[in-house]
Subunit: 375 residues, 4 copies
């Protein structure tokens, strides 16, 4: 899969981030650990120079893992030294950004490993299979919410990515929001009614994707004689109908919503509902690495929730200065916003104002569905 | 170019629209003019049955033009008969939609011809070259506009496409809007400062498009020893710096705005400004078929103006019932809204509430740029 | 299909050949009919300057057919004048080459039309359907032929393409040659025994082609409820089992031979057998434009016969001087030799020494199969 | 590069060959080492079941190297046991084929590593750089050789691949053969005279490859301020003009020969000349892993020599029975024969009758050029 990177690349890249954006400015006589690592481990920062084409990351049999671990140890030590020597406040901010950046790659590393294992004929497992989550979820309800002017976005203080700012006012229309995410059992009903075979349910681009890629179910679902199975980070195990559906694209989420007589929420609707909601969901730290049974609210964790909102700058958006300004702003076209965090997200990484974004055909993240309706 | 269709296909397709959506319901003993034309001339209506793949339209050496003209005459006559016999009100509405649909294809036909001629080594001309437009335009000013809740969208009565409805409230942020479109002369300045060579100015997808397609100027611009020329529907002629730039993609428009320290307007900003503005621009009926010199306001006609708004359903959007519901709604992802109409748009076709939409890399329409700024 | 060209392109291209290679050298004050036609209608002669990319030939809505007809009339008249004024002997030779070249394009024009009509949903016909050919052919026999040194290739005098020369000696191994081409009925037996589903029968590249293109039968075969039909230049009509199979690729011919416990002949074997054989087959002049029933010998006409010989220079091969040297020699890799001529070949065009050549996956010519065996 | 495989894949695949084709028939109670390894490590034997797509070999992060080494040790031990217990003669033959097969992969492993290192931005080295080879080679001479009927191919006894048999007679034309391979210095002269920019020198497919891939020199050549460098298995070092040119495609070899007023030899010409020639060249065992200076004869070792002969079955060719019959025969189309062995070939692996084969665009093997001429 072209989006995925090898595990050692993730480790070296997050290390390079600290070296290039903190140490290079903090160390008086900065010398890079290796003169070519900036080329090899830069992901996309044009302002930071040329770099290894993404599709060729998988070819990097060198440097070996040991060299990457030595790189990491070296940068860790120098970073500790820089902190001890007293880091300028703006570099402390960059280091905090580096931590958030690394948390993002921790999630990507898990989802990349899941994908690589899923296409490996040996079907390896990263851990033990997630235990079934038990009882059937309560029926889905649509909770009415009033319209009006609301504020969304991150306030000025505290850590947040630049794309979450500035906090600003939006006009909310009256609507109703699903009481919990859509489950695997509900998705089976969609499939049973020909969900993947009825073009009327799909956006035009979505239907083209169904046809060209042969989608018939969410990613990682497969069928054997006895029923549906699901490939997890713990290997293949039976599908649990009570769990939120995951690994669906925006196109599938949108088609499902149309089939259900509903629509996807906007990011404003989502954030207004999530403001103050408890961080009660399943996150990476729990070790399950798989969504747990659908239940009331569950806005945070378990699965990222597709919104119908295109990823775009907030009114008054200002990217960070310099190369770090490429972090978020340059992707603001053709992608959709997802909200909430997933079972592979480090606990505390995702805020209610957090804006994740992917192309509408992406399926390898833990991406799920919450419904909304006009009222 | 895969988006283009042969001229006779446009003619037959708009004819088929009337036959399939009006006559098939109005005529008591409906028999199609030709049993296979529905397959050949359906564009994308899934609900209306299978169809000729778009990429293979160019292969249709049959039916010949004479047959298409006979098809047209036949449908025209039957349609006149149906009107005389008394058409049900809902079918009158569909016929009106058919007229609007045909007007859209009149514009596409012109832009498809322009493209086909531009890549033809003989460089044919459709008419005489548009005369130079004369005096230099006034300097660009940014006109401040207040924020607040505004209404946009088409009212309930009168013809409009379903995607223009419902009329609804949006929250406008305070901003300033460019007093006229960006000109070719200004675009030359952008190019002169390395506009097409500085990745920091571009969205990531846009920069990839620059690299893979070798963009160095707007479509139809070419250079000879004496300076810049521009291919027009009247053939090749010198670039006129006073005219609004046209045939730029969203990516280019966005990069230009960043270079200019500005941004593209939202569709709400555009529509709020355009409400009540006179239809004073250059439209197809004038016969120039090329933008005329930039001048104050010029919101209507001349060039379509890219907005930063992703094409998405308005709150409460309801597509038309049946196959006609596929007209607009199924394209609501990954495209950007354009506003205003162009020199190839039939006069009176485009309303202030009209939402045109294209993918961010499209350049073969008369697409230009108006700037905006946060205040 | 990327190999095909529009009919008017064939006409203009063969006209250009006479203009560029005869008139340009014969006329004292040569001026081309149109300054850009050399670009538009040059097929592949690098030495004759740049040219329209092959894939874009289909985009040439201009020049219209009338202009091409005027071009033709003009060149015809000037050519007649040049002959009357007395043409240098070497230019008479080039004119003769131009005639042979045009005969090749007459065949290509027919096969291109057949292909374009076959994918047109209206399924147009070029003429009336070829009548069934009647009685069942005699059983296939393998006629033993002795080994030894033989001479093949065109003698020094008389017209032949450069790739047929020099006449030279080859060592023939003892073998046996099929008494007639393989029939459609025999091909049905191959299909019935899983011919298109058994990888062991196929060359590796051939099996990849079967998989990627979904081949299940020869090109232009299709099945309806009642049985197999075949698209012909006279439209769709029932398959005639007595006719030689046509429109199969080298890969299919080779797989069939393996299934039949045989192999394809070498071009030396073919030419040794064909030397002196009567021109008794079906050629374009008869107007049937479809192979006639298989019968004894039939080495000439009806279907081109794939050989196992790669298209390569004969020992001592010398291409013509100048641009005409590109006619044949530059294609001498990765293609296979076919022999004999087809029902779309002008009578008298193909000699026993004639070497046709196509890539192993080509199917749009009338290409068939004759078997051979080691003895 | 899609043709390349990871090092551990080569090791496991050659191991699987012994397991699948020897042990599975020799062991009374055969159980595969791992039930999925046949899928993962089968290369292309259709008769041996489905297999990992070639392009996805690089994704195999599992099994790890340790597992592959255990697999190897297990199969080695079982193979030794089978020999001790007395292996049937036909399985001894298969084991000998397995050794030859492994020798082929030893060469591929080296050339795959060379390629992977060459595109790695760190430019790793496998060993130390090959020392310069010293004195300038003698001028190239063309040694005349008589025509007549000769025998080529492997005799009935002794090990040889099936594609080298049967030994048979061929008719040789009088010709002259280059006294040594073409050198890097001579190749620079070709480049200096516009070799890569003159379409007249190239086959049509070759010229298309030059254009689409941007070839301007042999693979692994690069230029810095001081002159030409060459990437070797010992890293980057200056080009040595005295060495035979390597890493050129058939297209380049053919264009060079045309420029030099010569042609490539046929495989019959090559084998007739090489019969009885000493194994005096540079082979992998010497450890240089790079061609040594060009010198008289040098038919064996150093570089594989492209012939103009398409890879095709010898008269009377019979593939081995069963899956092993897929070893050679199924590739007999669209590839060219190379002769002689290279500096990466194990000593004693390549015989004078040995037929190597690659597609005409392949450059990652040590492929060079010997010239010939008609006389």
């Amino acid at each position: 899969m072209p989006e995925a990177s090898p595990a050692k690349w993730h480790l070296a890249h997050t290390t390079w981030f600290f070296e290039a954006f903190v140490l290079a400015r903090a160390e008086r006589r900065f010398r890079p650990f290796h003169p070519r690592y900036a080329y090899v481990f830069n992901s996309y920062y044009e302002a930071a120079g040329p770099r290894q084409p993404r599709l060729e990351r998988g070819l990097l049999s060198r440097p070996p893992l040991e060299d990457v671990l030595r790189y990491r140890a070296d940068v860790d030590a120098r970073l500790a030294g820089a902190f001890e020597a007293g880091l300028a406040p703006e570099l402390v901010d960059v280091a905090e950004l580096g931590v958030a950046h690394e948390e993002q790659h921790q999630e990507l590393l898990l989802t990349d490993v899941k994908h690589a294992f899923s296409v490996n004929p040996l079907r390896p497992a990263y851990g033990s299979p997630p235990p079934p989550s038990g009882a059937a979820p309560a029926p889905l309800a649509f909770l009415p919410r009033e319209g009006g002017v609301v504020e969304i976005g991150a306030p000025g203080e505290g850590f947040a990515f630049d794309n979450e700012r500035p906090r600003h006012r939006e006009l909310l229309q009256p609507h109703a929001l699903g009481s919990r995410p859509v489950t695997c059992g509900e998705w089976l009903a969609f499939m049973g009614e020909g969900g993947y075979r009825r073009p009327q349910l799909w956006l035009s681009d979505g239907w083209a994707a169904v046809a060209s890629r042969g989608w018939e179910a969410p990613l990682y679902w497969e069928r054997d004689g006895a029923g549906w199975l699901q490939f997890t980070l713990g290997g293949l195990r039976p599908l649990d109908e009570a769990e939120p559906v995951a690994h669906v694209s925006f196109y599938e989420a949108d088609a499902y919503a149309r089939w259900a007589g509903a629509r996807l929420p906007t990011e404003t609707e989502w954030e207004a509902a999530a403001a103050g909601a408890p961080e009660d969901g399943t996150f990476a730290d729990g070790g399950r690495l798989h969504p747990a049974a659908a239940r009331a609210v569950q806005l945070r964790g378990d699965v990222w929730e597709w919104t119908r909102s295109a990823y775009a700058p907030y009114p008054g958006f200002r990217p960070l200065a310099g190369a770090l300004g490429e972090y978020n702003g340059k992707f603001m076209v053709s992608q959709l916003v997802l909200r909430g965090g997933s079972c592979a997200t480090p606990l505390g990484h995702a805020r209610p104002t957090y804006r994740n974004f992917f192309y509408p055909d992406a399926r390898w993240q833990f991406t799920g569905v919450r419904l909304a309706r006009d009222t």
